[in-house]
Amino acid sequence: MAPSTTVADPQPSSTTDSFDSNAAAENDIRIPKLFSLCAAFDTCLVFFVAAIFVLHKASPGSKSTATVKSKRRIESPSPKIAKKSEIESAEEEDGQFFSTLRLRVFETVWSKIDKTIQDVLRDSNSKVFSGIRDWICESFESIRSSGALSLSEAVRSYPVLSQPSSKQLFTALVLTSKNLEMVDDLLTFEDLGLHLKSQGCHVAKLSSMDFSAKNGVGGCLRGLLRQFVMPTVDVADVTILASWYRESGNHKNPVVIIVDDTERCSGSVLSEFILLLSEWAVKVPIFLIMGVSTAHDAPRKILSANALQRLCATKFTLSSPAERMDAVLEAVFLKPCSGFTVSHKVALFMRSYFLCQDGTLTSFVKTLKIACLQHFSLEPLSIMLEHFCQDNQLPGEGTGLLTEATMKHAFDLPSVTRNKITRSTCEMLPQFLLDLQRMPNPWSIVVLCIYEAGKFDKLRLLDVFCETLDPEARYLKYFSPSSILNSQSNVSGRNSVIRRILRKLRKHASRSNSKLEKELKAMTDKISAVIEFMLREYMKPVETVPFNEILCFKNVDKLQSALLGDPRGRIQSDLLESHSILNCLCCSQRGTTLLPSMHDTSILYALAQEHADVINLHDWYQSFKTILIPRNSKAKSKSKTTSKSKKRKERCEEPEPPAEASIQAVMELQIAGLIRMPSKRRPDFVQRVAFKQEDQFIRQDQ
């Protein structure tokens, strides 16, 4: 409930005005400043009214100057800026050029990766797609052969019922990845639509949004007509569909309706829709394609018995996310694609995110995109990826990219200093870059070989990929005959996938030794020798190669924090460790005691930790007061005496200083969702709703 009715209902008319007039917009820009000046609450009200306003409009023509100006403004003397690397400050100077360049390279690289992924997914679906197309063609033929309708017959207001079977609606149930979110398959269904369209079908796509109980069957029919007939249709009349279908050659092709997220649709609306379409099936042969992502009997649970009777269903199954994942991985990282790659740690993070948390390819692709983006925003040399990506000549000194600052940065890279390459070997640079460009090729061949060898063991490429990226792995040790004893004691390699494969290979070799065929033994020996050679020769994880920073993204922490915000944990730790974020001297040495100088909300939240799941407001407030009072005791002794004198309020009485602070603090905790308001039944208590892991207070109490 709004605190007072004067605040509650700003007139909508005033909001429209505010975003239209420039004057209002200008006023609004100054809001933050004005707020701090606003003493009286009511003065602020004037500004609250604008729920939406235009902060500023794009300044056309100022494109280049504007950014340069803003960048200059940023260069205020702050400690962080002083820490900036030289290359960044150099970039600042012709900042516009570099940031546009980076953006362009990012777009080139990402569009290449994106296209590769799309192609892979399309390929993985192509079999199912052509299956669906064949099914549609066959069924359509059978309908047509059973007797096409004449035009006059078809546009009569009531459909002609010749046989009972004509009420059947041909339906394809497309089973997607089980029990996972629909999100991966949105694109699949879009592709399916395009595929069928290219085959001449009339395709419309409806989603659960169209089948909402609010819009009813009229809503989805309208959606259908808008897609088929024309976008401005506003009536829901199925006869329009029928007459459209009989128009100028439309009837030569089947009509396909795709519903991608069947489970989310309102069952009754969908049933009604199916009944309606089946009544008209004789006039308009409609093929329904329903995406089912839970179990194959999901339609039985959603639809009414009547509707189910009308369906003549066929099942199609799409590939699993893990299979698609391996295909994507192979195409993006192991076949020549963009040149961009990720480090071992990043790969491990992406793997565990996929396996443990999300399980959708979509989020994997998004992770990859974020990694790519951050690579370009963090690593100045990443712009050289453009040349890797396009198989161009590598940039020489003359391209202008390799400025003095860039060179200095390049030779300060950890991979360069680790390999003891110095500026004196500068002329070797093109050679290094060429090595870097060529390196992934043999490496990926070896990875694919291992994957192939591991297939009998149902190995996932994802696992092999992660392991082969490990710069500290020692595959060869495991492979040498003396290693078997050692390897068992090696804990870190406990789950090594590659070791498992190599062992299996060895086992085959030794078994054949004891058995008859010499040839087999000779062959396995050869294979082992080849694999051993390959591993030794080419298995160089990208992170060991000099200058790998150009194409390899490593910062797993940044990736994680950008991908997975953790408001629940982070907001609580913000409050409990406010001093470490604010970097203030006064509170940093506090240990476990609460100091009055700390942020009010911080104190209050730390105090809340001492309580059980409900907090007595009175006690809470009193303990808050005892912490704050020492600070205020000198200055505000006057207000203290007044508060002691009388319990009940007088209009003129000033509130106690801690009261106003605690009001603000409690409200801030409420905004953060950390406490729940007192209920009518329990007016003196608030409820804690978040429990932090490092909840030491509670443990101490135990």
């Binding site: 004067t6 609450f41 959708t360 989020s363 370009f376 100088s597 009175h618 509130p655 009001i663 892991q693």
Partner: protein, 363 residues
């Protein structure tokens, strides 16, 4: 594997703490002290003074904000790459985001939505954005020499139409977009699934970029995977500012204010003052009856009708009913049946508050 262990450990930690807290509440006796024991004053006054609280660590906070300024170019880059920015962390982020928008996004149009207000109207938001965008595209088209389309008018269209316009408008220039700043995208007025769907659809337009802030710890529950990964395309940024939530908090009821009596009596007075004198008088009859018969369930409707009719406040049952509907809508009056099965009307206010209200009305 380690990660799985970690996650499990985390979950164990959370649940352990939850149960510890529960156990604690069972073992130790709950404090029975009352909130009313604290010397608290009127809400209005508290809000006024709360505006003037000195912010602690102002220097550190401004340093923190300065530190975030160094990240502005990165944020712009991320926006240009097609991501949406989601700011979280403790403290009001309104100032930070608006500073970012007005200093670094000068070449793009910026629309600000104050999601913490209860009056946000998404259709108006969409209208404003659609107008800005069509204006922008038109100027681009003009500069590129091709013909501009006829004047498009949006106000008459539905939300779906505006959205499809936003989706449909294409320009070759990928770097041409409108930035939409949403303060508190988890705000009470746009917290419902429909608004979030609309915002998500808006965010998925190729010429729209969203910069939003959240404050509630459970805000991510608003979105499903499609919205997060495909539509909003969030990049999370942890930017605690520790700045006071001044404007965001105005619409939150205050826990420590002595809300009940003073507050509701005051709101009731405001509502009543906006009604006709006859309606006020009917209300007064009811109030006086309730004060003189504190033990009853309320005043039977027929009695109220006859009493009001006697004094010529209403002429028919219909007029009385219209007054009563008005009262009920504002929660000034509740109905229930008494033991005889008669419909009774009562005012959900304490006697003190009711007396105060009558005094206010008679002034």
């Amino acid at each position: 594997m380690e990660d799985i262990d970690n996650i499990e450990e985390d979950e164990c930690g959370f649940s352990r703490n939850y149960f510890l807290a529960k156990e604690l509440s069972g073992s130790s006796k709950r404090s029975a002290r009352k909130l009313s024991d604290i010397n608290i004053v009127d809400e209005q006054e508290l809000r006024e003074t709360a505006c003037n609280i000195e912010t602690k660590h102002e220097k550190e906070i401004s340093e923190l904000l300065n530190e975030y300024k160094t990240m502005y170019p990165k944020w712009v880059f991320e926006l240009r790459c097609g991501f949406g920015l989601l700011m979280y962390g403790f403290g009001s982020k309104k100032g930070l985001i608006e500073d970012f928008a007005s200093s670094s996004l000068t070449e793009y149009s910026v629309v600000v939505i104050n999601g913490y207000l209860p009056s946000v109207n998404l259709k108006q938001v969409l209208l404003a954005i659609a107008e800005l965008l069509s204006e922008m595209l038109k100027s681009r088209r003009k500069s590129s020499g091709s013909l501009a389309k006829g004047q498009e008018t949006f106000p008459s269209r539905s939300i779906d139409d505006i959205l499809s316009f936003l989706h449909g408008s294409q320009s070759e220039d990928k770097d041409c977009f409108v930035c939409v700043v949403v303060h508190n995208i988890d705000g009470p007025a746009i917290r419902d699934p429909e608004s979030q769907q609309t915002l998500a659809q808006l965010a998925s337009c190729s010429h729209i970029r969203i910069i939003a802030s959240i404050d509630h710890v459970n805000a991510p529950l608003l979105w499903d995977k499609k919205m997060v990964h495909k539509q909003f395309n969030w990049l999370w940024h942890h930017v605690p500012t520790f700045a006071p939530y001044k404007v965001e908090g105005v619409f939150f009821p205050l826990v420590l204010a002595q809300g009940s009596t003073a507050q509701t009596a005051k709101t009731a007075a405001i509502v009543l003052q906006s009604l006709t004198p006859n309606a006020q008088n009917v209300f007064k009859i009811l109030a006086e009856y309730q004060l003189s018969h504190p033990d009853e369930d309320g005043m039977p409707t027929e009695d109220l009708y006859s009493a009001s009719r006697e004094r010529f406040f209403v002429s028919s049952q219909v007029t009385l009913n219209s007054h009563l509907t008005e009262f009920k809508d504002h929660e000034l009056v509740k109905t229930k049946r008494n033991s005889d099965g008669q419909e009774c009307l009562s005012i959900p206010l304490s006697s003190d508050a009711l007396r105060q209200l009558l005094l206010d009305l008679n002034q």
